[in-house]
């Protein structure tokens, strides 16, 4: 009886492995681009097809607003976004996630992909500034970065590798202010959510996040003298299957509809 079970089991296992192997080989993405798809310039804009843009969380409002304009001008375009911390997105792209464009909140995460040969030459498309976010009414009377170190103030920051968090730590170190955050969040939006929900008293995000934060948030300025150079690079991902639309999006981010949406949201132009 044991031998009969074994003889049944072996072909069964083989069958399963064969089926799974067949499925796997058709999914493996080719690392070379298949060339631009036929761009029928049927509308004023030449963007069509599916476009997956991986963008830093701080770009959420601006890019969502840009989507309305872009899809109105390009009816054949199916634009989807993936917003997260830039380090998360860079890791996903390294794991072959299907991105066509990568917009990072700092050059460091973009450089990781440049070094790995996964993106084309990046260009800077926006600049931003840090801003302290507190609950509306500023109950803890926070007036500047130094107040973040006050006892009784619950501060959350972004995790290591998340651009906003790294920039904040850089600024605090240069000002010699020691802040012990109560939590390290995965991106600016979840850090802001901790303040909105009342769990944290303050966090440091970008001025664009404070602007998009709604009535429960107010901002406290970080002086220009303390601001780090915050530049956002954008690049076409080499493994893209829609190179034309990806390039068009990048161009639009530098000077086009997307750039207009960025300015409206409070970003500074790339200069």
């Amino acid at each position: 009886m044991r031998i009969r079970l074994f003889r049944l089991g072996v072909p069964a296992v083989a069958a399963v492995l064969l089926v799974s192997a067949c499925g796997a080989s058709t999914k493996s993405s080719s690392s070379t681009t298949t060339g631009a798809p036929s761009t029928t310039a049927s509308t004023a804009g030449a963007m069509s097809g599916t476009l997956n843009v991986f963008a830093a969380a701080s770009l959420t409002s601006a890019f969502n607003n840009a989507k309305t304009t872009l899809t109105a001008a390009n009816p054949g375009l199916n634009l989807t976004y993936n917003f997260a911390g830039s380090n998360t997105l860079a890791t996903q792209i390294q794991q072959s996630a299907p991105a066509d464009v990568f917009a990072s909140a700092d050059p460091k995460n973009m450089q990781t992909l440049v070094t790995a040969g996964l993106v084309e030459t990046p260009v800077t498309f926006a600049r931003n500034k840090l801003r302290i976010a507190v609950a509306a009414g500023n109950p803890k009377k926070i007036t500047g970065l130094a107040d973040l170190a006050k006892p009784g103030v619950t501060v959350v920051l972004e995790a290591q590798g998340v651009p906003a968090g790294d920039y904040t730590r850089q600024v605090l170190a240069s000002r010699k202010i020691t802040v012990t955050p109560k939590s390290l969040e995965t991106d600016v939006k979840s850090a802001l959510a901790k303040v909105t929900s009342g769990e944290a008293d303050a966090t440091v995000v970008y001025q664009t996040d404070v602007a998009a934060g709604g009535s429960k948030i107010q901002g406290v300025t970080v002086p220009d003298a303390d601001q780090p150079q915050i530049t956002y690079p954008i690049a076409v991902v080499k493994a893209t299957r829609n190179h034309a639309a990806a390039q068009a999006f990048v161009d639009s981010a530098v000077s086009g509809d997307v750039q207009k949406a960025l300015i409206a949201a409070g970003f500074a132009p790339p200069q």
Binding site: A15, T91, V156, A159, K182, T186, S197, G198, E199
Partner: protein
């Protein structure tokens, strides 16, 4: 007499399919693991802190679950009262509720602005969020049902005659519980406790949503695994995953079918 095999290949193939779904990911984990640098990876940035914190919070969750869960299980098993079925359903709910939903619910109850948390904070200054107690609470929320269910089943199915005999001999309720009831259900409680502890150890969604993420305070091992994988620290994430996998295997092998039904 020899048993005959069930007719047809179908059950065997499907069974192997089920096995593949479970086993292949584990194989994937084991074969990618950085075996040669395991020790170093586990001592690397925050990994050991996360492991130590996980042990503390999971044992804390087990302790709270035993303290509050066993009496509740006893009441559910031995007392008939209106709404008993509803109570039983409610305490089992966290087992099927998505953990992140549990985390959000905990926020609205025990967060600083939560209806209960607000009172706690105003009166005592105590807060669960961003505190190790919050991690323990989140883990208790998801894991305690395992203990309650196992304990209730054990209380129901134990032989009551020993208790009755002890009662007729003059033993008081507390003495009976301690010397007769508990020893009788001890094996089942141990099994339930092991499951509860393992579930608490592996909790992620409720912890990161409710308690927060900070090394040494709330960053338990599953949280660190998630963050490391997100930010490309693959080696540490894999090393920690292996530890969690090994612990889970030890618990299940140690239980040896006991939790599936036999008491």
């Amino acid at each position: 007499m020899r048993n005959r095999l069930p007719a047809g290949l179908a059950p065997a193939v499907l069974a192997v399919g089920a096995l593949a779904i479970v086993v292949l990911p584990l194989v994937g984990l084991v074969q990618r693991a950085p075996w040669s640098t395991l020790g170093r990876d586990l001592r690397a940035h925050d990994a050991f802190t996360a492991l130590r914190l996980s042990v503390v919070t999971s044992l804390g969750a087990l302790g709270v679950s035993v303290l509050f869960g066993v009496p509740l299980a006893w009441v559910l098993a031995r007392r008939v009262f209106p709404g008993r079925a509803l109570v039983r359903a409610l305490v089992t709910l966290p087992m099927v509720l998505p953990p992140v939903v549990g985390g959000i619910a905990l926020l609205y109850a025990f967060g600083r602005q939560g209806f209960a948390g607000r009172i706690l904070y105003d009166v005592t200054g105590w807060r669960f969020v961003f505190n190790t107690s919050g991690a323990i609470l989140a883990e208790t929320f998801v894991a305690m049902p395992f203990l309650i269910v196992t304990a209730e089943s054990a209380f129901r199915s134990m032989d009551r005659r020993a208790e009755e005999a002890a009662a007729t001999l003059g033993a008081r309720p507390a003495y009976r519980f301690r010397r007769v009831t508990l020893p009788a259900v001890a094996p089942a409680l141990a099994a339930g406790g092991a499951l509860t502890w393992a579930r608490a150890l592996g909790e992620f969604g409720a912890t990161i949503t409710f308690a927060g993420n900070f090394s040494g305070t709330t960053q338990t091992t599953p949280l660190l695994v998630y963050l490391d994988i997100e930010s490309g620290n693959e080696a540490t994430a894999l090393a920690l995953s292996l530890v969690l996998l090994a612990v889970s295997l030890v618990v299940l092998v140690g239980l040896r079918d006991r939790w599936i039904g036999k008491v």
